[in-house]
């Protein structure tokens, strides 16, 4: 019993465990990640949808618009006309119904028009000039992307006004002209030279070569496909896009009492919808069954609501002229599943023959580009200008995209192609382009299993309200009302924000080691304290939206 006598017992605590390095226990560390959402993966314009939807949720509408127009300068138009692959891919689809992304896009696009938001002028002015042939979705998109990087752009268009299919194809009840006008004007206002009413052909190339460093061909596809069963010269047989154009120009073509629309795509539905407003009776004959018709389901639904009769999974075998009306001999078909992609091969089902009678038949079975003048100047294949992955044609300095170069005939696809072609052109022009940050190649798309659905109670999906069918049938006013503010907010809240941190703090709250702290300087809002992180993965598991990953550590 010797040693120093301690008046005070030795074992009261003297400090905190926070000096200890418990992070040494781990084998892997959680990291915050911005991961691609499935909607992004399928978006024709590569839009990082969760980002702008979150901006809506945060009521930062202008920021949402700015995010949108990074990739798509015409959200009011695309917000009405997109074929919406995003909603098909949405992780919420299987859970309780997809987020109405398209309606949200429209909401922001309409707001931008209403508020008069403008694009900022390019920060640099470059010397190079680019000629854009065609002022439709692809041309507008490309021109916009080039111009905002400072390139000098001239758009040539055969029509009196810009907009292409948006202006002359899509009917008013889907896309009011004033929206197209507003959005095209905003693009032009960036300082783009516009030459309308001039249809450029291959012969003009020499002239263009003189004045422009590069040429972008995007004049679309306007040559209607025909069906051999129908006579070319029969005035009772119309083509869809010509019909739609006439309606758009307020000089609709004459229709009989009974109209039969042939086709199963968006154009066919637009034709049917327009015809319904002009004729007594409209029937549709589509080769595909309803489930696989190329037209979006809601567009089909619209026309059926309005009184069109759909004959799906059937084709015309022969046409009989009943002096006045046409009698179509039809048969039910199945589509051969055993064909290469892009090929459609119907198989007739014996004994299912039937007939349809029509005063007017409108064929809406697709269009081809008019390339007669271009063949020999640029390589043409399968009826389209041939381009490589960078939208380069066979001739140096000439690029092409949109319907003229693609079989994917969606307006949104054209906008995306236009954007990507612009990037390619800028590279060609030797400019260092600032391409928006994409995702690393190894970034794994967020799947539903990565979503912690606990944090997302099921909700009714919700969509744009529609004008009552009794009313809308009698005019060309827009069928779908845009989302109200409340609807838009509710809808934005439904977004899982797959792969995008929204600073919910869950990672920090659920860390038993308090190893995740909020840090406004960190690129993804949080800092993981390596001294303490034991690598348990609670943050990852409790991240509602798959915005975290694991980094293996070797020691």
């Amino acid at each position: 019993m010797t040693g120093t006598v301690k008046r005070v017992p030795s074992i009261w605590t003297t400090g905190s465990t926070d000096i200890l390095n418990t992070g040494t226990w781990r084998t892997a560390i959680a990291v915050h990640e911005h991961r691609p959402a499935p909607c992004y993966g399928v978006c024709p314009v590569d839009g990082d949808i969760p980002v702008w939807v979150q901006q809506i949720r945060n009521e930062k509408f202008k920021e949402a618009w700015q995010t949108l127009v990074e990739n798509n300068p015409i959200p009011a138009a695309i917000g009405r006309t997109c074929h919406r692959p995003c909603e098909g891919a949405c992780n919420r689809t299987e859970y309780d119904g997809a987020v109405s992304i398209n309606a949200l896009e429209q909401y922001v696009g309409d707001m931008a028009i209403r508020e008069g938001w403008e694009f900022p002028a390019p920060s640099d002015e470059l010397d190079q000039k680019v000629a854009v042939i065609g002022g439709g979705p692809a041309g507008l998109s490309c021109a916009y992307q080039l111009r905002r990087k400072g390139v000098q752009v001239t758009i040539f268009d055969a029509n009196p006004e810009l907009g292409g299919v948006l202006r002359y194809g899509v009917p008013e009840f889907r896309l009011p002209k004033k929206m197209v006008a507003a959005e095209t004007k905003r693009i032009v206002d960036l300082g783009i030279e516009v030459v309308t009413g001039r249809k450029l052909t291959g012969e003009d190339l020499g002239e263009l070569d003189q004045g422009y460093s590069a040429i972008f061909i995007a004049f679309g596809a306007h040559e209607p496909k025909r069906l051999p069963q129908f006579s070319k010269d029969d005035s009772r047989v119309l083509d869809g896009i010509t019909f739609l154009r006439s309606v758009r120009l307020d000089a609709p073509m004459e229709l009989g009492r009974k109209v039969l629309v042939v086709g199963g795509g968006s154009v066919a539905m637009d034709v049917a919808g327009s015809a319904l407003r002009l004729a007594r009776q409209v029937e549709i004959l589509a080769l595909e069954g309803r489930e696989v018709m190329p037209a979006p389901e809601d567009e089909i639904e619209d026309v059926i609501e309005e009184g069109a009769i759909l004959n799906d999974g059937a084709m015309v075998k022969a046409v009989e002229d009943l002096s006045g009306t046409l009698l179509l001999h039809c048969i039910k078909v199945e589509l051969d599943q055993d064909v290469p992609p892009g090929v459609i091969r119907p198989i007739e089902i014996a004994g299912t023959e039937f007939t349809l009678e029509a005063d007017t038949v409108i064929l809406a079975v697709g269009q081809d580009p008019e390339l007669v003048d271009w063949e020999g100047r640029v390589q043409v294949a399968r009826g389209m200008v041939e381009v490589d992955n960078d939208y380069r044609t066979s001739r140096v300095g000439i690029f092409a995209a949109g319907d003229v170069a693609s079989s994917e005939r969606f307006v949104a696809t054209a906008v995306g192609d236009g954007k990507r072609a612009a990037n390619s052109i800028v590279r060609y022009l030797g400019q260092k382009i600032v391409v928006e940050e994409g995702f690393a190649d190894e970034a794994k798309e967020v799947a539903i299993d990565d979503i912690n659905t606990f944090y997302f109670p099921t909700q009714e999906p919700g969509e744009r309200d529609k004008v009552a069918v009794e009313i809308r049938k009698f005019g060309f006013d827009e069928i779908r009302l845009g989302l109200t503010d409340a609807q838009a907010f509710d809808q934005s809240k439904r977004c899982f924000s797959c792969g995008s941190c929204i600073e919910c703090d869950n990672c920090s709250i659920f860390c038993p080691d308090m190893a995740i702290i909020k840090d406004s300087d960190a690129p993804l809002y949080y800092k993981v304290l390596e001294q303490y992180c034991k690598g348990c993965g609670c943050c990852l598991e409790e991240c509602p939206r798959g915005a975290m990953g694991v980094k293996e550590e070797t020691k």
Binding site: S16, T17, L20, I509, P512, C536, C538
Partner: protein, 288 residues
């Protein structure tokens, strides 16, 4: 989006809990809600280890480590001493495991409740003696495997929350880590209600003892709630019941199949547990 939790940084990093430990999470929410004007008592348990190796403490407030059976009495002793010194503001909290609460510490707890000692008693319920390597406690549920019930426990879990309610204490609540805002709110509520024993039973899945991944603590605790096994509710003065989160359609099977401690169960076993859970829930529901 996000939880509304007002945390004061009281619980420190660098503690010795297993990666992902549910108890550490619970302690975080408890201490960080209580704030610095508090004194804690902990009995031998994982909590005692988590609170730190001498001479360091993770808990930020004075902690006294008592014996396994004495938490409530020890906490009461502190509170009374503070009162004798004229201190009526410092919160005294006992933080014990289920072994130290449901089993060996129950006598002291029941007596402290009877005396209505002005303390907060937190039971971190991981349904067994997990610090000693997973043995059965009276909080272990029916048929669960522990190293002392290798064939599965033959009796149901003791219903200590309801026993505490029967003491007519001012506040009893069940909580769990998967609902941290609810948990923090209940601690806050317990603080507001002064002048008697306030008891909060916090389900804290033991990752090792239950056989779930390190990241699954919060999720497992939510499954317990959603399957009706562990409803979250609170009772004031022994009679006013409020349901916070009850079953939402998940079944016992959804819960047990994620845990290794139940992997020996047959379908019939699961049905028996389901019947027990349904019965208990029906009985509890009448009280709301």
């Amino acid at each position: 989006m996000g939880y509304e939790i007002n945390e004061e940084k009281v619980f420190s990093s660098g503690h010795a809990a297993c990666p992902g430990c549910s108890e550490a999470l619970a302690i975080r929410f408890v201490l960080n809600t209580l704030g610095r004007d508090a004194i804690a008592v902990v009995p031998p348990s994982c909590i005692a280890i988590i609170s730190g190796p001498q001479p360091l403490s993770s808990m930020g407030i004075p902690v006294y480590q008592t014996t396994l059976e004495a938490s409530a009495a020890s906490a009461a002793g502190i509170k009374r001493a503070l009162v004798s010194k004229g201190n009526d503001h410092t919160n005294v909290v006992a933080i014990a495991g289920d072994g130290g609460t449901y089993d060996i510490g129950f006598q002291a707890l029941s007596a402290a409740a009877e005396r209505n000692e002005d303390i907060i008693y937190i039971c971190l319920d991981n349904e067994g003696y997990m610090n000693t390597g997973s043995q059965k406690s009276s909080a272990t549920p029916s048929m669960a495997f522990t190293t002392s019930t290798p064939a599965g426990k033959l009796s149901p879990k003791k219903n200590v929350p309801e026993i505490m309610v029967a003491h007519n204490i001012p506040y009893m609540a069940t909580a769990t880590i998967g609902y941290p805002d609810d948990l923090a709110r209940k601690v806050k509520r317990a603080m507001e209600i002064k002048g008697g024993l306030r008891f909060i039973n916090i389900l804290t899945p033991c990752l090792t003892g239950w056989g779930v991944p390190d990241s699954a603590g919060p999720k497992t605790s939510r499954l317990a709630v959603q399957s009706g096994i562990y409803p979250l509710y609170e009772v004031e003065n022994g009679e006013f019941y409020t349901l916070n989160y009850g079953p939402n359609g998940l079944s016992v099977a959804d819960y047990v199949t994620t845990q290794k401690r139940y992997r020996h169960l047959s379908l019939e076993n699961i049905e028996l547990i389901q019947a027990e859970v349904d019965h208990d829930w029906a009985r509890l529901q009448k009280k709301f």
